[in-house]
C-alpha cells in the first residue's frame, strides 16, 4: 500500500537566521495491506515527519513516496494539490495529534463528512458515524454539539472517528491513544486492530507501550532520520 524510498526532509528556519534542521535522510519503508507498522525512536527522530510527508502535509525534498490508489501507484512527492486531495479523500485516513475543525459544526456532521467526501450518501455516512461514535463510547448527548468544549479525550475520539469514517486502505496514526483512559484506549485499540485484520495497511506512532504491543505486527526504529538496524 505504501512504498517509501530514500525519503529526505529538512527544515530551513528563515526566521531564525536560516538554521537548518534535518528530519529525515535516506529513509526507506514498505507497508503492505493487513500489517501494522509501529514507528519507534526518541522524540525528534523524525517519526511524525514520515507520516506528514506521506499525506503531503510536509513537503519532502528527495526520494519517493508511492501510495496505492486502486490499481495504480501514485507518487506523492511533487504531486499536484488535486491529486493529494484525492488521495486523502479516498485512500489515506489520518489521525493527527490535534482535532482541527470548523467551529460550530456538530460532531455527527464532522464524522460523517469524510465519508461523504469519499462518495457515500449522507444517510450511509451518518449511519456509519453513529456506529463509530457509539463504539468509541462518545455519549450520544454530545453528538449534536460541536466538539470545541469537549474534553481532550472526547476530542481525540472524534478525531479518530473521522479517520475511520471511510474504509481507507491506508491509515496513518499519530498517537491515537494519547489522552485516553484505559476503557477508551481499549475501544480504540480494538477498532484499529479490526480494520487492520480487514486488510488496511496501518502505519502508526504509539508511545503507549500497551497499544503498541497489542497492535504492531512489525516495529521500525528511527534514529536521526533513518531506519535504525
Amino acid at each position: 500500500m505504501l512504498d517509501i524510498r530514500g525519503l529526505a526532509k529538512s527544515f530551513t528556519l528563515h526566521t531564525q537566521g536560516g538554521a537548518r534542521i534535518r528530519a529525515l535522510a535516506g529513509f526507506d519503508l514498505q507497508v503492505t495491506s493487513g500489517e501494522c507498522v509501529a514507528l519507534t525512536g526518541p522524540s525528534g527522530a523524525g517519526k511524525s515527519s514520515v507520516l506528514r510527508c506521506v499525506t503531503g502535509n510536509y513537503l519532502a525534498e528527495a526520494g519517493s513516496i508511492r501510495v496505492r490508489l486502486g490499481a495504480d501507484w501514485v507518487e506523492v512527492i511533487g504531486a499536484p494539490a488535486r491529486r493529494l486531495l484525492e488521495l486523502r479523500r479516498t485512500t489515506i485516513g489520518h489521525v493527527s495529534q490535534f482535532l482541527r475543525v470548523i467551529p460550530r459544526v456538530p460532531t455527527l456532521d464532522l464524522v460523517a463528512e469524510p465519508a461523504v467526501a469519499a462518495g457515500a450518501t449522507r444517510a450511509e455516512a451518518e449511519q456509519r458515524a453513529r456506529r463509530l461514535l457509539a463504539r468509541l463510547n462518545l455519549p450520544e448527548r454530545l453528538w449534536n454539539l460541536a466538539p470545541a468544549t469537549f474534553s481532550g479525550g472526547e476530542q481525540q475520539r472524534v478525531n479518530i472517528a473521522r479517520a475511520f469514517a471511510h474504509p481507507y486502505p491506508l491509515l496513518l496514526l499519530d498517537e491515537p491513544t494519547a489522552s485516553l483512559d484505559a476503557e477508551n484506549r481499549q475501544a480504540v485499540i480494538d477498532l484499529i486492530d479490526d480494520v487492520r485484520r480487514n486488510g488496511a495497511a496501518v502505519l502508526g506512532i504509539f508511545h503507549d507501550r500497551e497499544a503498541r504491543a497489542a497492535l504492531a505486527t512489525r516495529h521500525v526504529s528511527l534514529a536521526e532520520g533513518r531506519a535504525a538496524a
Binding site: 527544515f11 528563515h14 510536509y58 494539490a81 488535486r82 470548523i102 460550530r104 459544526v105
Partner: protein
C-alpha cells in the same frame, strides 16, 4: 477508467502571467495558476501585497497590463475573458460569476428590500415571473439563514453579519460556478465569522463552487481553501496545499506570516 477520468476535468479558470502595473509601481506580477471546478483557492499576504489588485484583475473589473485569463464558459467553452466585449464581461459577472465584497454595502443595493436584492440578479438573467422570483429569493435567503419575515426589509436594517449573508445570497441566486470573495469575514465579530465560515464551507461543497478567496486571515483559509497562493510585493512567492503551506512553509515571507499568528 475513461479518458476524461484519467486526464481529469479541465480548469475553470486559467491564469497566466497576470500582471498589473501602475506606472512604475507593481500591483501584481506574473501570477500563474489554474482553478478547477469546486476548488477554493486562498490568496494571502499582508496589506499592499497585491491580493486585491489580483482579485480585481481576475474578476475582470480591472484590465491587467499583461497576461491572459481564460474562463471555461458553459455555452462556448474556454474564452479569453479580456477578448470579450464589456457587455459580455458584465453578463458573466451577473450570471456565471459572483463577487462578494468585504463591505456588503458595496455589493448590495441599500435602497431596495432584501428580496429585491436577491431577485434583481435573477431578473438580470431574464426571470420575469414574480411568484417564481420571490420563491427563489425566499429559498436563497433561507439557505443563508435569513428569516423569511425579513424579506421585505431593507438591508440597512440588518446587522453586519446578516448584510454579508444577504450579499452572498444575492450572488448565489444565479447558481454561479465561480465566486470571488474579498475578505468576506473581515469586519465581522468573531462569533459571526464562525457562523459565516460554516455556511460558506457547506455552500461551497454542496454547490461545487470554485472560489478565489482573498484574505489576510490565515485561520479563514485553513478552514475554507484547498490551495493557497502567498503574495508579497505583487509576486506569488509560494503556492501549494493549504495545510502544507501553513505547516511547512518554505519561503521566508510565508514563514514570517505563519509565525506571526498569535496563539489562542
Amino acid at each position: 477508467m475513461s479518458v476524461a477520468e484519467r486526464t481529469g476535468p479541465q480548469p475553470l479558470l486559467r491564469v497566466r502571467g497576470m500582471s498589473k502595473r501602475y506606472g512604475r509601481r507593481i500591483g501584481c506580477a506574473d501570477v500563474d495558476f489554474d482553478l478547477y471546478p469546486g476548488e477554493v483557492i486562498g490568496v494571502v499576504g499582508e496589506s499592499g501585497s497585491g491580493k486585491t489588485t489580483l482579485l480585481n484583475c481576475l474578476s475582470a473589473q480591472l484590465e491587467p497590463s499583461a497576461g491572459s485569463l481564460v474562463y471555461d464558459t458553459r455555452e462556448r467553452g474556454p474564452v479569453a475573458v479580456f477578448d470579450l466585449s464589456e457587455a459580455e464581461r458584465r453578463r458573466l459577472l451577473r450570471t456565471d460569476w459572483g463577487l462578494v465584497r468585504q463591505n456588503p454595502r458595496e455589493g448590495l443595493r441599500m435602497s431596495v428590500s432584501a428580496g429585491a436584492n436577491v431577485g434583481e440578479r435573477l431578473m438580470a438573467v431574464g426571470a420575469r415571473n414574480y411568484g417564481q422570483i420571490r420563491g427563489t429569493a425566499e429559498h436563497w435567503l433561507a439557505q443563508l439563514e435569513i428569516a423569511a419575515d425579513r424579506i421585505d426589509d431593507r438591508p440597512g436594517t440588518f446587522s453586519g453579519g446578516m448584510q454579508q449573508r444577504l450579499q452572498i445570497a444575492r450572488n448565489l441566486v444565479t447558481r454561479p460556478r465561480l465566486v470571488f470573495m474579498d475578505e468576506p469575514t473581515g469586519g465581522l465579530d468573531v462569533s459571526v465569522q464562525a457562523r459565516l465560515l460554516d455556511l460558506l464551507r457547506r455552500l461551497v461543497g454542496d454547490l461545487d463552487l470554485a472560489c478565489v478567496l482573498v484574505t489576510h486571515d490565515l485561520g479563514v483559509v485553513r478552514l475554507l481553501a484547498h490551495r493557497l497562493l502567498v503574495m508579497q510585493q505583487g509576486h506569488v512567492v509560494e503556492q501549494g496545499l493549504t495545510d502544507q503551506v501553513l505547516d511547512d512553509p518554505q519561503h521566508p515571507y510565508t514563514q514570517m506570516l505563519v509565525s506571526s499568528i498569535l496563539p489562542v
